[in-house]
Assembly symmetry: C2
Homo-oligomer: 215 residues x 2
DNA sequence: TGGCGGGTTTCGTGATCACAAAAGAGGAAT
DNA sequence: ATTCCTCTTTTGTGATCACGAAACCCGCCA
């Protein structure tokens, strides 16, 4: 028996479109309020309208896209109230995820987090907002994977997805020079096995950018 | 200008299908592991396969349906680990929702909750599992609506949706005779403005059924 | 009695098409 | 210069169809 030769020999068309769009939205490559068309998406991924529509509908179910009453598709423009709510959700879910990951966080994981963190510093030096967002989410996901709670992680990723376009608008405006301070606090708390400190550090890291978002 | 005469003159076909299936799943009218077909769904709602497929894909994105590698659609059969995780998510989200609703809970709301609660007692006496589940969720939704946090409420409903078929299997097995004890505790805590008591009561109510679920 | 083939039916996928509604462009009237 | 109207283009919706693969049924063989 071959071990995992290619478990996905023929990925379906709608899944390719879904994954492609999802990545761009989550990583902030699409500005808020950007209009999309089914035919355009289909042409871009070289498929017909049918799989494009399925991908769009799935993404709108996850809050990654909004569909107007007339069916027009666009990236969401979030109100301040909704942004605050989504940040509160991030805090709620991610504090729990970090807390559950803590007892399973070995030294190898911590080293991996430090490695990601140093690459975040490079992205900041390069002023690459998209790479920064992607790497920042990789930092969080790497930690939360250790919680072994896939449904909870999926919910957190759904929140990231909804905040994607808005985060781009934020970090494009923000001229950051230093890597995120609270990431170092998270790593320290992990090393020390300090759960209250970890919860506070994660909450602070998630909440930190909120002040600049609310205009 | 007419005030809200009929803001929805022509509901789209896929939305009708989506809402119909979603209600049945959330209220436990479909057993876990039940197989569905796109053509069957289309025939039932009198539409073609296209809107049926969109509705199914949206529901699978929300975890209300599972799609096998060959594309077959069925209601999910949850493992014990996933059930525990979803119950933990319910506790996390709903405790927060209740806490946010507390300062806005006027007497009219509390009376409405009591009214729903007494109707739950009737459903129990009638041994009507579906009505019981629906009314129980109505109790929780009525409270959480006061939190004025639509994204958070939507996440909680998504969790209910995923647990729908499993809850049916549980409450069908369980021969309950008394209305849920913790609902009375929730109402008492609301009356007293007792936030810690409210959080504990909600958490207990959500967690209570778990013991029987895990075989 | 229990497992194994082979043919048949059923099913999901994705492309295409007709239709209606919405958006956009461009000019005329004020 | 601005508003309004009309014609054209663009867009989403839903039905239909061909195709390939998966599931099913039923009889055969051990």
């Amino acid at each position: 028996m071959l071990l995992n030769p290619r478990p996905d020999p023929a990925p379906s068309a709608h899944d390719r479109v879904y994954r492609g769009l999802r990545g761009r939205i989550m990583h902030g490559e699409l500005a808020p309020g950007l209009a999309l068309t089914l035919r355009g998406i289909g042409a871009e991924f070289d498929v017909s309208m049918t799989p494009a529509r399925e991908a769009v509908r799935r993404l709108s179910a996850e809050g990654a896209l909004t569909i107007s009453s007339s069916g027009r598709v666009s990236t969401p423009e979030l109100s301040n109230e909704r942004i605050e709510e989504l940040v509160a959700l991030r805090a709620l879910l991610e504090v729990e995820l970090a807390s559950r990951a803590l007892p399973r966080a070995h030294i190898a994981l911590i080293e991996r987090l430090q490695s990601i963190n140093s690459r975040i510093a490079e992205d900041i030096a390069r002023q690459d907002a998209v790479a920064y967002i992607r790497r920042n989410l990789e930092f969080h996901r790497t930690l939360y994977l250790r919680a072994q709670t896939p449904a909870m992680l999926a919910m957190a990723e759904t929140v990231w997805l909804q905040l994607g376009p808005t985060m781009r608008a934020l970090y494009g405006r923000l001229r950051r020079k230093d890597p995120p301070h609270y990431h170092r606090l998270i790593i320290s708390a992990l090393k020390a096995g300090d759960e209250p400190g970890l919860r506070l550090a994660v909450r602070s890291d998630v909440t930190q950018g909120l002040r600049m978002l609310v205009t």
